[in-house]
C-alpha cells in the first residue's frame, strides 16, 4: 500500500494557500463589535490577521500531533505524551531565562532538550530499576513539572523582563500565536510529514514488531529516538496554543479515534491527522467566538466529541454497531430455532401434512400459545412461512423449507461428527450442536459429509436431510405428502 501522505500534503498546502488569498486587513474599529453572529462571520472571512495565525497554527498543530499520536497509540506509549508535555516545562522556563523574553526559538530549543532528557530518564529508570513503565513516567512527569513550577515562580519573582504571556503555556491561547510561532509549527509539521512518508515502512515495522525489525537488521533504537525527537518537537511547538496539560490530549484522542475506525496504519495516520486538524480548527473557532477563551480546552473537547462518535458508532468496533450486530444475530438464531421446531413437528407427523398449528409449535417449544404465534408472525415477515387465513396454522415456503432443512442437517451432521470423530457419548452432543448449527457454512458441511461418508442417520437414529431434500423445495411449493428421509427413498 502506498503511503497516502499525499492527501495530507494537499491539505496542508491548501491551508497555507488559503490564508494569504483572503488577506484583508482588519480595521481597528471592527475589533469592537462582538455579537456571536458577527464574530462567526468574521471567523469565516479570515479578516483578522491574528485569527489567521491562530487558525493556521491550530490546524497545523492538529495535523502534527495527530501524526505523532498515531504512533504513540499503536506503540502503547500514550502516557509518554502526557509525561513529556509536563516535563518540558523547565525547558520553557530555561528558554525564557536565556534572554528574559518569550523568544520562540530559545524556548523551542530549551524545551526540546529538556523533553529529550525526560524521555532518556524514563528509559534509564526502566533499565536500571525494577520500577515499571507507569512509575517511571509518573516520576518524570511529576519531578520535572515540579522543577518547572519552581523555575516559573522564581521567574515571577525576578525583577525585569517581559513576563506577560508566560502563563499561557499552561492552558494555551492560540490568539497569542505570533507569525514566528506559526512558521515554527509549519516547519515541524513538514518535518514530521517528511519523516513519516520517507520512513513509513520502517516506522510501521518498528512500531508493531520491534523484534522482527531487529532481526531484519534495522536500527530500532535510532527509529525510536527519532520518533521521540519528533514527538518532542510536536509537543514543544504546540505548547503555546494548547498548553502543557492538554497537549497529550491532542496527541492521543484523535489517534485513538482513528484507531477505533481502521486496522491499517496508513489510514489511521490520515484519519488521525484529519481529526486533529478539524479539532484544532474547531477549538480556534470557539476560542475566537467566545472572545479569547483558552483554545486548548475547546480543541480537546472537539477531539473528544470525535472520539465519542467513533467509540459508539464506529462501523466495526463501535459499541452501538456491535450491539446492533449482536441483536440481529440473536434474532436470526431465534428465527432458525423456530424453523427447526416446525421441522421437528412435521417430522413427528412423518410429513403427512404441511401445516403446523400454533398449538403444536407451542407444545414443541414449551412456551405459551401467544409466544408461538408471535414467532410464526416473525417468520411470516421474513417470508419463511405462509399463515392460513385464520392465522392458526402455518406452512413453510420453499425458502423456509430450505432453511429448516439446512439447520436440521447441520445439527444432526455435527452430532454425528462428534460421536464418530471425537468419540463423545451420543447423549452429550446435543448442546454443542445447538450452537454450531447456526454457524456452519456450506463448505464445512461438504467436508463433514465427505468425512462421514454421506451418512444417512444421526446418532439418535433420525434421518439427516440431504442436498436433494433441500433442492426439492426449489421445484415445488408444497411439502410432498411423504417426504422421505431425504434421499433415503432411493436407497
Amino acid at each position: 500500500m502506498k503511503f497516502p501522505g499525499i492527501v495530507i500534503v494537499t491539505i496542508v498546502a491548501g491551508i497555507a494557500l488559503l490564508a494569504p488569498e483572503i488577506a484583508v486587513a482588519a480595521r481597528i474599529n471592527e475589533l469592537s463589535d462582538s455579537t456571536f453572529l458577527d464574530r462567526t462571520v468574521r471567523f469565516f472571512t479570515f479578516r483578522d490577521p491574528s485569527l489567521r495565525n491562530a487558525l493556521m497554527g491550530s490546524m497545523l498543530l492538529g495535523i502534527c500531533c495527530g501524526l505523532m499520536g498515531a504512533f504513540l497509540v499503536v506503540r502503547k506509549l500514550s502516557l509518554l505524551g502526557d509525561a513529556l508535555s509536563h516535563a518540558v516545562l523547565p525547558g520553557v522556563a530555561l528558554g525564557f531565562l536565556w534572554n528574559m523574553s518569550k523568544d520562540p526559538v530559545a524556548i523551542f530549543v530549551g524545551a526540546t532538550l529538556v523533553g529529550l532528557l525526560g524521555a532518556a530518564t524514563v528509559q534509564l529508570l526502566r533499565a536500571t530499576t525494577r520500577h515499571k513503565e507507569d512509575a517511571a513516567l509518573g516520576f518524570v512527569l511529576a519531578s520535572f513539572f515540579g522543577v518547572g513550577i519552581c523555575m516559573f515562580t522564581m521567574i515571577q519573582n525576578l525583577p525585569g523582563g517581559n513576563k506577560s504571556g508566560l502563563d499561557k503555556f499552561m492552558f494555551g491561547q492560540a490568539a497569542a500565536l505570533g507569525r514566528s510561532d506559526v512558521i515554527l509549527l509549519a516547519i515541524v509539521t513538514a518535518l514530521a510529514l517528511c519523516a513519516v512518508m520517507v520512513f513509513y515502512k520502517e516506522y510501521a515495522i518498528t512500531s508493531f514488531d520491534a523484534g522482527f525489525a531487529r532481526s531484519l537488521g534495522m536500527p530500532v533504537q535510532i527509529f525510536h529516538y527519532s520518533l521521540m525527537l519528533l514527538l518532542a518537537f510536536a509537543i514543544v511547538s504546540s505548547l503555546q496554543a494548547v498548553g502543557v496539560v492538554l497537549v497529550s490530549a491532542m496527541l492521543v484522542i484523535p489517534a485513538a479515534a482513528a484507531f477505533l475506525l481502521t486496522d491499517r496504519l496508513g489510514k489511521m495516520l490520515i484519519l488521525s491527522a484529519v481529526f486533529g486538524m478539524v479539532s484544532g480548527g474547531t477549538g480556534a473557532f470557539f476560542s475566537f467566538v467566545g472572545r479569547n477563551l483558552p483554545t486548548g480546552p475547546f480543541m480537546v473537547l472537539a477531539a473528544a466529541a470525535v472520539f465519542a462518535v467513533s467509540l459508539f458508532f464506529g462501523p466495526r468496533h463501535g459499541i452501538f454497531s456491535r450491539w446492533w450486530r449482536l441483536r440481529s444475530r440473536s434474532a436470526r438464531i431465534s428465527r432458525e430455532n423456530t424453523l427447526k421446531a416446525i421441522y421437528h413437528v412435521l417430522e413427528d407427523e412423518e410429513f403427512e401434512t404441511d401445516q403446523v398449528s400454533g398449538r403444536e409449535l407451542a407444545e414443541r417449544r414449551r412456551e405459551t400459545l401467544e409466544e408461538a404465534e408471535n414467532e410464526l408472525n416473525t417468520l411470516r415477515r421474513h417470508h419463511y412461512v405462509t399463515l392460513s387465513s385464520d392465522g392458526g396454522s402455518a406452512s413453510l415456503t420453499p425458502e423456509g423449507w430450505q432453511r429448516a432443512c439446512e439447520i436440521v442437517r447441520n445439527h444432526r451432521l455435527w452430532e454425528l461428527y462428534l460421536t464418530n470423530a471425537a468419540h463423545i457419548a451420543a447423549d452429550h452432543v446435543h448442546e454443542d450442536a445447538e450452537k454450531i448449527e447456526h454457524i456452519l457454512g456450506e463448505e464445512t458441511v461438504r467436508m463433514l459429509e465427505k468425512r462421514l461418508n454421506y451418512a444417512r442417520r444421526d446418532p439418535h437414529g433420525r434421518l439427516i436431510p440431504g442436498l436433494e431434500d433441500i433442492q426439492f423445495a426449489a421445484g415445488r411449493h408444497t411439502v410432498p405428502s411423504r417426504a422421505t428421509g431425504f434421499g433415503s427413498a432411493t436407497n
Binding site: L77, A135, C150, T153, I253, V300, F307
Partner: protein, 313 residues
C-alpha cells in the same frame, strides 16, 4: 539555615506540617498504587476533579468546602468509571483510555471555569489548580475549639485524612496487601477484589481532593509516585516501605521548605523537587550497590522476586 524558623516559627511550622501531612497521606496510598501499576491514575484523577469542583459550585451556588469535596469526589469516581468503560468496551488500551478520560474532563473544567469567570461570579485561579500555594495555609483564620486556637483548618483536615489513611491501612492491611499483590489469590480466598479496587480509588480521590484545595494538584500527584518509588528502591518489604514513605515525606517537606526560601519559589514545587532529589540519591546509591553485588557475583537484585512478609495467612 535556621532563619525561616527564627523569623516566624508558627508559620514555618504549619507549612512544613501541611507539606508533611499531604506527602505522607499521598505516599501511603501511593504505595498500593505502585504495586498495582496504577501510578498514573493519581495524575488522571487530580486533573479531572476540576469540572467536579466547578459543577458543584454551579449546582449548590456556594464555594463551601464540603460542596467542593462532594463534587471533586464524584468527578474522581467518574474518571475511574470512564476509564474502565472505554477500556472494556473498545480496543483502546488502558493507558490511552486514562489519557482520554482525564484530559477531556480537565478541558471541560477549564471551559466551565472560564465561562463562569466571564460572568464574574466565580474565580478559581487556574494556576492555583495546578500548583496551589502552600505558603498561604498558615494565613487562614485558625480553627477555634473551646477557646483554644488549634491551627489552620486545612492543615487540621489534612491531618485527619492522614490519620484516616493510617488507620485504614492498619485495619485492612492484609486485605489491601493480598488484593494488590495477587488478585488471583485474593479472589480464591473469597475477597471481593472489585470492592478493594474501588475503595482504593475512593481513598485516592479523598486524599487528592483534600490536598488539592490548599497545595495544588502537582504536589499530590508527585507525592503519590515519588515517595513509594523511593521506598521501593530501599526495601522489598511492604511494612518497611510504608515507614520509609513517611520518613521520606517528612524529609522532603523540611528540605523543600528551605529550598523554597533559598530560591524564592513555590513551596509545593520545591517539596516535589526535594522529594525527587532524595529519590535520585537513593537511585544512584542502589546503582553503586548493584555494581558491587555484580563484582561479588551475587544475584542481581532486580531479578529477585519481591518478598512479602505478613502475607502468609
Amino acid at each position: 539555615m535556621v532563619q525561616p524558623w527564627t523569623a516566624d516559627f508558627s508559620i514555618t511550622l504549619w507549612v512544613v506540617l501541611m507539606g508533611f501531612f499531604v506527602t505522607a497521606a499521598c505516599g501511603l496510598v501511593g504505595n498500593y498504587l505502585l504495586l498495582r501499576r496504577m501510578a498514573l491514575v493519581g495524575d488522571a484523577i487530580s486533573h479531572s476533579i476540576l469540572p467536579g469542583l466547578v459543577l458543584a459550585f454551579i449546582i449548590f451556588k456556594t464555594a463551601a468546602t464540603w460542596v467542593a469535596f462532594v463534587g471533586a469526589l464524584a468527578a474522581g469516581m467518574l474518571t475511574v468509571l470512564i476509564i474502565e468503560f472505554i477500556h472494556r468496551q473498545s480496543r483502546v488500551k488502558p493507558d490511552a483510555a486514562i489519557c482520554i478520560a482525564f484530559t477531556t474532563l480537565f478541558a471541560l473544567g477549564v471551559v466551565l471555569m472560564s465561562m463562569l469567570e466571564g460572568t464574574g461570579s466565580f474565580h478559581i485561579d487556574a494556576d492555583c489548580v495546578l500548583y496551589g500555594e502552600i505558603a498561604f495555609v498558615p494565613l487562614e483564620p485558625p480553627a477555634v475549639w473551646h477557646g483554644h486556637s488549634l491551627g489552620p483548618p486545612s492543615a487540621l483536615r489534612m491531618a485527619i485524612v492522614l490519620a484516616a489513611v493510617i488507620l485504614t491501612i492498619a485495619v485492612f492491611y492484609k486485605e489491601l496487601l493480598v488484593t494488590s499483590f495477587d488478585p488471583g489469590l485474593a479472589k480464591s480466598l473469597g475477597m471481593r477484589t472489585g470492592i478493594w479496587h474501588y475503595g482504593l480509588m475512593g481513598a485516592l480521590a479523598l486524599v487528592i481532593v483534600s490536598a488539592f484545595e490548599s497545595v495544588g494538584a502537582i504536589l499530590a500527584v508527585a507525592m503519590l509516585i515519588v515517595p513509594p518509588m523511593f521506598a521501593a528502591q530501599l526495601s522489598e518489604r511492604l511494612p518497611l516501605r510504608l515507614v520509609l514513605t513517611v520518613f521520606h515525606a517528612a524529609a522532603s517537606a523540611l528540605i523543600g521548605l528551605h529550598l523554597s526560601v533559598w530560591l524564592n519559589c513555590s513551596a509545593a514545587g520545591a517539596m516535589v523537587v526535594a522529594a525527587a532529589l532524595l529519590f535520585v540519591v537513593v537511585w544512584i546509591g542502589s546503582q553503586v550497590q548493584r555494581m558491587m553485588h555484580f563484582r561479588r557475583k551475587l544475584p542481581d537484585p532486580r531479578t529477585e522476586e519481591v518478598r512479602v512478609v505478613g502475607a502468609s495467612t
